[in-house]
Amino acid sequence: MAPKLPIYFDHAATTRCDPRVVEAMLPYFSEKFGNSSSRNHKFGWESEDGVEHAREQAAALIGANPKEIIFTSGATESNNLAIKGAAEMYAKAPAGQTGRGHIISAVHEHKAVLDPCKRLQREGFDVTFLEPGTDGVITADMVAAALRPDTILVTIMWANNEIGVINEIPQIGKLCHDKEIVFHTDATQWVGKMPTDVERDHIDLLSWSSHKIYGPKGAGALFVRRRKPRIRLEAIIDGGGHERGMRSGTLNVTGIVGFGKACELCQHEMEHERERLVKFRRKLETELSKRIEVTQVNGHPEKRLPHLTNISFGFVEGESLMMGVKDIACSSGSACTSASLEPSYVLKSLGVGDELAHSSLRLSLGRWTTEEEVDYAIEQIVAAVQHLRLMSPLFDLHKEGIDISKIQWQAH
């Protein structure tokens, strides 16, 4: 049976709100519209109850105490608060000076981590950006080798948003706890998909987002550890002192209620969903690699998220490939799909050549993905690659046995 088109294979970008989430949110738009900070009437209490229930649901998903959850507008804000807030709080010298402390991150982090780190670099902190190996994994050994006596913060994402590769987070957390260094992880692509326990995994600060886990956009959270050790942060948004003074501003009650419900649903459905999606992802990877020559799955073969794969198809360019698979909504690491003319910096960091980086597709599956959709996508991708290879001068050279990396191209 043909699936309904177009097929959505871009769940790493955002997800559809689960209808059960929407249902939970609806009363908070209308009858329960109060400000959760209004302490003296029923409207305020109702909203506060909604928020506090969501706090419990969010905390439960990651093995935290509800008091350790700070609601934000999403993972970008959580990352900014965690990184800038911890750096300012644990700085070794006051603002305006250099040598304020050392931070460790990685070159293939999301921009929402890289850019706060780069700002801190300009403000007197030293930052080491670790480079992954060809498998894309950041290991505890890499972090250990970069540690300095003045290291104050380590921020490493749990799983990469472009390639789905999973870093050695529990081991890095253990290392940081042993050395008494604050450890933050951007877990946007991880939480809700994989079991998370901030106690077992030694996390001090953890960011995640609602809209990646079937909740509404504009909501998210930062876990801030309260004991062993107690982590303190310098706020970046000042005002009415909401969220224990760490994030002022009237709470987005409807968004938070939806986020909480989304967390609860993920906790219950994660295991079943993961098994289903791993099977689909493997089918995509196996079939496409089998049917199309010179195909490469980017990143570590095993240490990967269940629902995300990044595949390069040699000799075809990513944007034209996406045009060829117009019934499949997905992403590409090609330069042409971004504002800059550089191909994906994540793929480049793995040593994937520029040419193969231009030729990549990111396919990310989700809660409503069906096997029919997977089968349809395989057929459409195979057909599109064949169509484009008939037109590709590079594929001709490959067939003639000429190594295109050895040709002197006239770059423009």
Partner: protein
């Protein structure tokens, strides 16, 4: 960003895809001019083959392209425009005409530039093989 209908049409039904032989074959043919411009690491490579008759008219043109939809459409359109033109007329084709015909957005102008470059490169190759020295006007236009 949505593509114009003409880009989509050229992408789905590219005109004149192909070549007049392998890279080794066409290197030996004096009636064929070969232009290959761009680089894989930049995300676009255009290959243009023109077949020129004894009167100096482009009888046939074939392209191959590794690149985005706009690059494919630009090279496909270029082959349509080249057929039947004399070599000198072909050199008057400007990238701005391609931009206009395909309604390319500013971010895709480089695709049209690449198409113009491939025409110039193919003609230069044809002239070199036949010992034709370009007159100063056309020479000045190459870059």
């Amino acid at each position: 960003m949505a593509y114009s209908d003409k880009v989509v049409d050229h992408f789905q039904n590219p005109r004149n895809v192909g070549s007049f032989g392998t890279s080794t074959d066409v290197a030996k043919r004096t009636d064929v001019g070969v232009g290959i411009v761009g680089a894989p690491e930049c995300g676009d490579v255009m290959q243009l083959h023109i077949k020129v008759n004894e009167q100096g008219v482009i009888e046939d043109a074939k392209f191959k392209c590794f690149g985005c939809g706009s690059a494919i459409a630009s090279s496909s359109l270029a082959t349509e425009w080249l057929k039947g033109k004399s070599v000198d007329e072909a050199l008057t084709i400007k990238n701005t005409q391609i931009v206009e015909e395909l309604s390319l957005p500013p971010v895709k102008i480089h695709c049209s530039v690449l198409a113009e470059d491939s025409i110039r490169a193919a003609i230069a190759d044809y002239r070199k093989k036949n010992g034709i020295v370009a007159d100063s006007a056309t020479h000045a236009a190459t870059h």
